[in-house]
Amino acid sequence: MSDTTLETWGAAAPLALSTSSDLSEVGDWFALLKPRVMMLVVFTGVVGMALAPGNLHPVLGTVAIVCIALAAGAAGAINMWYDRDVDALMRRTMRRPIPGGRIAPNAALCFGIFLSIGSVALMGLATNWVAAVMLAASIGFYVFVYTMWLKRRTPQNIVIGGAAGAFPPIIGWAAVTGGFAMPPMVMFLIVFLWTPPHFWALSLYAHADYARAGVPMLPVVAGARETRRQILLYAAALVPVGMAPWFLGFASAWYGAAAGVIGLWFLHACWRIYTDVQDAAGRSLTNDAPARWAFRVSLLHLAAIFACLAADHWVFG
């Protein structure tokens, strides 16, 4: 990790060469992996594995989970490398290791590529190559489709790009079975539909950041009022889709009821965004308090839906 050399030019003048990686702590390299994003990604992958029929050796299962985590982190590191100019302009991201000057961009890129290749290879060796190919596809989708292609071009960036974060249940399922089936596809759809309202809630109260950086998030391009409407539509669609595992017969009515309640809770949070006190231009007069609340609810919503799926599987088989 370190590419530094310490040189001493005589006892009276101790000199050191300084590169960005001189300044990096271990925690900075960990931060490159976007650990908070990684946690939810890993959790959905674990549930995908838990629901899959068949047995995977516990060691191999653990390695598969680590591979999903490392791949998510690798994609995050490459994303931070590519977006370093944008990150430097946004208050939320300007203290990240690269814009903060603690890690050199090329070092971050190498770190991300190394982890990408390593996680995919290890997944293939530990489980099967279907899971490994899906893992590679998820990294590629996040880096090339979302980060490099869509993010700076269209307000639909997060809608299409959200697919990258929806891969883990499919990867977890494939790690156990070596194939695909309806349940992981439904889990994919839940995460896919959850992503836009989750990020748009964030972008409502961080829209000034995105505008300054020139990222065409929906509130920047279409305005806050249209964003609130879209958030509500996606949250409404998410209620039946969250209950779909029950409709499709791979979860019990208990899950269906729990998913319905959780979905309605999120829908209520999004309704509060929609009915937020606004000025004539649609700008919030409450400092976007409902959007901040809905963002937190969205995190709990996804975690709760997948926790219910796993609990339902263990209780009712």
Partner: protein, 49 residues
């Protein structure tokens, strides 16, 4: 890579060595974890077969 030479105070030098030592320990731990992982993956794959 372009290097920028800067004089370090004794405190900065201590911090520099501390950061480098902790990075080296982390790298060592990661390599060790990789070796242990490959060992156990091989054992698990063989036991499955």
């Amino acid at each position: 890579m372009a290097y920028e030479f800067v004089a370090m105070t004794p405190e900065e030098k201590v911090a520099f060595h501390r950061r480098r030592r902790s990075r080296n320990f982390a790298l060592f731990a990661a390599l060790l974890a990789l070796v242990v992982t490959f060992f156990f993956v091989a054992i698990a794959r063989m036991s499955q077969n």
